[in-house]
């Protein structure tokens, strides 16, 4: 046991490493208070959130090269986590900005004060999840982000679909987190610890019942799979994405997924990696269960089902929801390789996915502001009524398909090369076939925008110059990262380093 002095020293050190998260908590509290005090002001909490995120970004930047644990091995700071936290932070900023331009939020809900407050809360949950190395913290972090997101999904109370989405979300969420902690309890019983590092040490030293281990990990996977919306834990995704306000849909599809992937990767690497001295980039897994194959199956299911079902959808948000399931599949494909090249490619993919997906949802929001609909048939001729939106949407969609020279192509390139490198050529073939299938429904969107209703005499869409500036904030990186991806690849490769507690 630690002595008191040591304990205080450890605490001091931990708090100094916990500054980004602390900044988020303070921003959360400030936003809560400001919202109580200035009920009238429209976006005050939104600006608070932005400032809070910027401060968090500052502390995160100062941590750039740190690798350590805090709070007696409960929390880890490493390059991998920091990359994911940047993805989460940037998408949080993006989502707050998108929210400013989403009329639905201001028209269909009673004030947006709590809205931005809850976004900060959700961001805090994700930050915690990315760095957690203890099953208690994992559970608490998942619940922190989930509880905020349940409310956010149904935030536009006057929209019938929103409350329906919210209900479905909370039921599926509660069930899957229930299953997850049941798995955690079994893992706890098997190994006698809740700390991932200790579980790893225990598994390395002692044989355990394979079936029980498999069962518990599958159950835990249901919790993570729910967050990343991988098949078969995806049932909530389309409904929630369709019903929730657009910025929240975007947030769930990027940040929430990033946090889920972060913990999935960390959990697998930290728990099941057999430490091979000198060769860290190839993971040797403990036990006799073929986790590669289990994850690969999840990947194939997610890709195929997501893409095939998306073909029949008529609502753009729903199409993007199924596409996000499919994208989870592509990333799981890289996870299934279980090596550092796979981790790096997931990171690269996430960064690209963040930019293009936020952009696509933002266009959906801007269009909904004008025409009040997300149905694909209402998109007819929009390419001529709103040329800039049309061009940017096309760019985002071809990027989601994975065609060069866009960011999405670089993501796919790295994912496929990680998979080919690990020798799973069959998986890569399934992946590329899927990206051809995905073309069908992405094309459907810009086909309606450009090929239908060409000579429409309907009025042009209106949008403020500021909203176009924000659009370019997403569109330019989508193109730029497709051509000059040197730095992002370097950073991701440097960040593929998951701290192993030694």
């Amino acid at each position: 046991m630690l002595g008191l002095d040591q304990f205080i020293a450890e605490l001091n050190k931990s708090i100094s490493m916990f500054l980004p998260e602390t900044a988020l908590v303070i921003a959360f509290l400030v936003a809560l208070l400001l919202d109580l005090m200035f009920k009238k002001s429209k976006n005050l909490t939104g600006y608070t959130a932005l400032i809070g995120f910027l401060v968090t970004g500052y502390f995160l930047f100062k941590q750039m090269n740190m690798q350590s644990t805090a709070f007696s091995n409960m929390f880890v700071i490493d390059q991998f986590g920091i990359f994911m936290k940047w993805v989460i932070l940037l998408s949080s900023i993006g989502v707050v900005l998108i929210s400013f331009f989403t009329n639905e939020l201001y028209e269909k809900a009673k004030g947006v004060g709590e809205y931005f407050t809850l976004i900060i809360g959700m961001a805090f949950g994700m930050f915690l999840l990315v760095g957690s190395s203890n099953l208690i913290i994992i559970y608490l972090a998942i619940e922190t982000m989930s509880l905020s997101s349940y409310v956010l999904a149904g935030y536009t109370k006057e929209v019938k679909r929103a409350s329906e989405a919210s209900l479905k979300y909370v039921i599926f969420g509660a069930v899957s987190s229930g299953i997850m902690i049941y798995g955690i309890s079994i893992l706890f019983g098997l190994t006698g610890s809740l700390n991932l590092f200790e579980i790893n040490r225990f598994l390395a030293a002692n044989p355990v019942n394979n079936f029980a281990l498999f069962l518990s990990v599958i159950m835990i996977l249901s919790g993570f799979g729910y967050k990343i919306s991988a098949v078969p834990f995806h049932f909530w995704t389309p409904d929630v994405y369709e019903g929730a306000p657009v910025p929240i849909t975007a947030y769930l599809s990027v940040a929430s997924k990033a946090a889920g992937f972060a913990i999935l990767l960390r959990f697998f690497k930290v728990t099941f990696l057999d430490s091979v001295p000198g060769n860290d980039s190839v993971w040797t897994l403990l036990g006799s269960i073929d986790w590669h194959f289990v994850i690969a199956i999840l990947a194939v299911l997610s890709m195929t089902l997501g893409n095939l079902v998306a073909l029949w959808q008529t609502n753009v948000k729903r199409i993007l929801a199924y596409s996000s399931i499919a994208h989870a599949g592509y990333m799981l494909m890289a996870v299934s390789t279980m090596d550092d090249a796979g981790v790096a490619s997931v990171l690269i993919y996430f960064f690209m996915y963040m930019v293009m997906n936020l952009g696509a949802f933002y266009v959906v929001a801007l269009i909904a502001n004008n025409i009040g609909s997300e149905e694909i048939d209402d998109y007819n001729g929009l390419g001529y009524r709103a040329p800039i939106l049309g061009i940017c949407m096309t760019l985002f969609l071809i990027s989601l398909t994975g065609l060069p020279p866009t960011a999405g192509f670089i993501g796919k390139l790295y994912v496929f090369s990680a998979v080919v490198k690990a020798g799973y050529i069959w998986l890569a073939v399934v992946g590329v076939i899927n990206s051809v299938i995905s073309l069908f429904y992405y094309v459907k969107i810009f086909r309606n925008m450009y090929l239908n209703d060409v000579d429409s005499n309907k009025s042009k869409l209106t949008y403020s110059p500021a909203s176009i500036v924000l659009l370019f904030v997403f569109a330019i990186p989508t193109l730029y990262l497709g051509i000059f991806f040197n730095d992002i690849v370097k950073w991701a490769s440097y960040s593929a380093n998951i701290f192993m507690g030694k």
């Binding site: 060069p404 192509f409 496929f416 090369s417 076939i433 090929l451 060409v454 690849v489």
Partner: protein, 546 residues
């Protein structure tokens, strides 16, 4: 000094259209009818200007081209080289990455660059007829131009792939927005077919990269660069065969060879005239070019293994395409444009056959055939476009006696049709003769069967000529095309259309009499190519070099 001119000419020729696209973009579209008209004219003439400068650059390349240099797999043999590091990072965890901006041309690509510049220039003129969303049309047109030019210039696989995919989207929109009644179907079919081919190409590219450690095509052609334990290391492994097949299919879809050709008739029939011209004139060549540039030299062992199959595919394409074209005379489906589309399948079959021969004359013939077919089919499609613009139909049996109504037009058309048949004195004859000469040495039986294609070709072309131009003028075409005289003052072909057609006709006849300027460009490279492939492939007859 020949072979380079101290000016990044390949970059300019490739990216000039993108510059043009931006200019077109910035031209304000007018508010009322009058200013709208003016801005449309400005956009059109900007495109003419841009493509004309591109053509001049291509001519400069042609004049400065050093015929003696080889290329293919030696960097020193390439000309107008531009090589910069684009992406370079050494990454301990996921392996190094090195992508170059590497452009250069040799005898295989130089004729194609020239062809692309010519076709893109002449196809602007029929584009003047486009009235719908003019700005978008020319923006897409110029983007397509960049994509095609880039494919022929790049020597880095990654760069190649980027350009290869870059054309897809503009092509989709050009067919989909400005096409005929079934444009959506044709556009998506084109898109999907090409994408299926190219995603497998992507996997092969990744595999090659992991084996070689570079995206440089020339590095990939050197077996010594393959790590022995890598995916594509060694020779004659089944994975190499599979990879070759994947690449081959990716390119064959573009060619298109039977059985991957079904997108072509749809795309051609639905596409607007200038896009048909580009499609037939340049896009199809990218398939065969890709084989010569990438698939064959990187997997020479697999070429040796599948050589017979490639020749068979060539032969089947020739005969099958010709029969399909003849099928257009069946009652109920008589479409002149479809006839020409199928004749393209047939003519690209000669290219495949010539390449499969692996003899210098066969391959020179194949490349020359690519060039000639580009020019001739461009003419044919433009000619059909001229008629379609006036009559709004392409039905073969709806016409007759046009020779009386449009004498000049008939003259041009006769040149194009005779060139397509392969009449001596026209460029098509020389290339087809060379292909047969080469192929006969290696695959005598197949070549003899392929000869059937020439006879059938003559049959359907002459038949079509006779149907449209001779005999009685049908009742409905007796009067002038345009009684108001607003759009067409005379019944015959107009000046703008002649501007596009006459240079092509001149090229066809000139190269029919004097093929040397083009053939000399490629012979050194092709000889080197054959030398390089020789240890792996079957070469019939006695090889003496050219």
């Amino acid at each position: 000094m020949q072979g380079s001119i101290g000016f990044p000419i390949l970059t300019w020729i490739t990216f000039l259209p993108i510059l043009g696209m931006l200019i077109v973009w910035l031209i304000p579209s007018g508010k009322d009818e009058e200013t709208k008209k003016r801005s449309n004219m400005l956009i059109r003439w900007t495109s003419v200007g841009i493509t004309f400068i591109q053509l001049i650059l291509a001519v400069i390349i042609f004049l400065n081209y050093n015929n003696g240099m080889t290329g293919v797999n030696q960097q020193s043999g390439f000309q107008f080289i531009e090589k910069f590091t684009w992406i370079k990072a050494s990454l301990p965890l996921i392996g190094n990455i090195h992508i170059e901006y590497f452009m250069g041309i040799d005898g295989i690509s130089a004729p194609m660059v020239l062809l692309t510049a010519i076709i893109c220039f002449v196809a602007v003129f029929p584009s003047f007829g486009i009235e719908k969303a003019v700005k978008g049309y020319f923006a897409m047109y110029l983007l397509l131009d960049t994509g095609m030019m880039g494919v022929f210039n790049s020597l880095d696989f990654f760069l190649f792939y980027v350009f290869w995919e870059l054309m897809l989207l503009p092509m989709y929109f050009l067919i989909g927005i400005w096409g005929g009644p079934r444009k959506e179907y044709a556009a998506i079919k084109f898109f999907i077919y090409t994408l299926v081919g190219s995603v497998f190409m992507l996997l092969v590219m990744i595999g090659l990269y992991l084996s070689v450690g570079s995206f440089n095509m020339l590095d990939m052609m050197n077996p010594a660069n393959f790590a022995s334990d890598s995916i594509f290391g060694g020779f004659n492994t089944s994975i190499r065969y599979v990879a070759f097949i994947a690449l081959f299919i990716g390119f064959a879809i573009k060619v298109p060879s039977v059985p991957f050709h079904t997108w072509l008739p749809d795309a051609h029939v639905e596409a607007p005239t200038p896009i048909s011209v580009i499609l037939a004139g340049v896009l199809l060549k990218m398939g065969t070019y890709g084989m010569l540039r990438i698939a064959f030299p990187i997997f020479p062992d697999a070429v040796g293994y599948f050589q017979g199959l490639i020749a068979w595919i060539g032969m089947i394409s020739i005969v099958y395409g010709a029969f399909c074209a003849l099928g257009q005379f069946k009652i109920g489906k008589r479409d002149l444009k479809k006839l020409i589309a199928y004749s393209s399948v047939s003519h690209m079959g000669y290219v495949m056959l010539g390449m499969a021969s692996m003899r210098p004359e066969g391959i020179v013939g194949a490349i020359f055939q690519m060039f000639n077919h580009g020019i001739i089919t461009a003419m044919l499609f433009m000619i059909v476009g001229v008629l379609y613009d006036r009559a709004h139909t392409r039905g073969l049996d709806e016409f007759g006696g046009m020779a009386n109504k449009m004498p000049v037009y008939t003259g041009i058309m006769t040149i194009a049709f005779f060139a397509a048949i392969g009449l001596p004195g026209m460029s098509g004859f020389i290339s087809e003769a060379m292909v047969f000469l080469g192929a006969f040495n290696t695959y005598p039986m197949l070549t003899m069967v392929s000869g059937l294609g020439i006879i059938l070709g003559a049959a359907y072309m002459l038949w079509a000529l006779q149907k449209v131009f001779f005999g009685q003028i049908p009742e409905r075409w007796q009067g002038p095309w345009d009684p108001t005289g607003k759009k067409y003052k005379h019944d015959d072909i107009n000046g703008r259309e002649l501007t596009a057609l006459i240079p092509l006709a001149v090229i066809v006849i000139f190269l029919g009499i004097m093929p040397n300027p083009i053939i000399d460009m490629m012979s050194a490279s092709v000889n080197h190519f054959v030398e390089f492939m020789r240890p792996f492939v079957k070469i019939g007859g006695h090889l003496s070099g050219m």
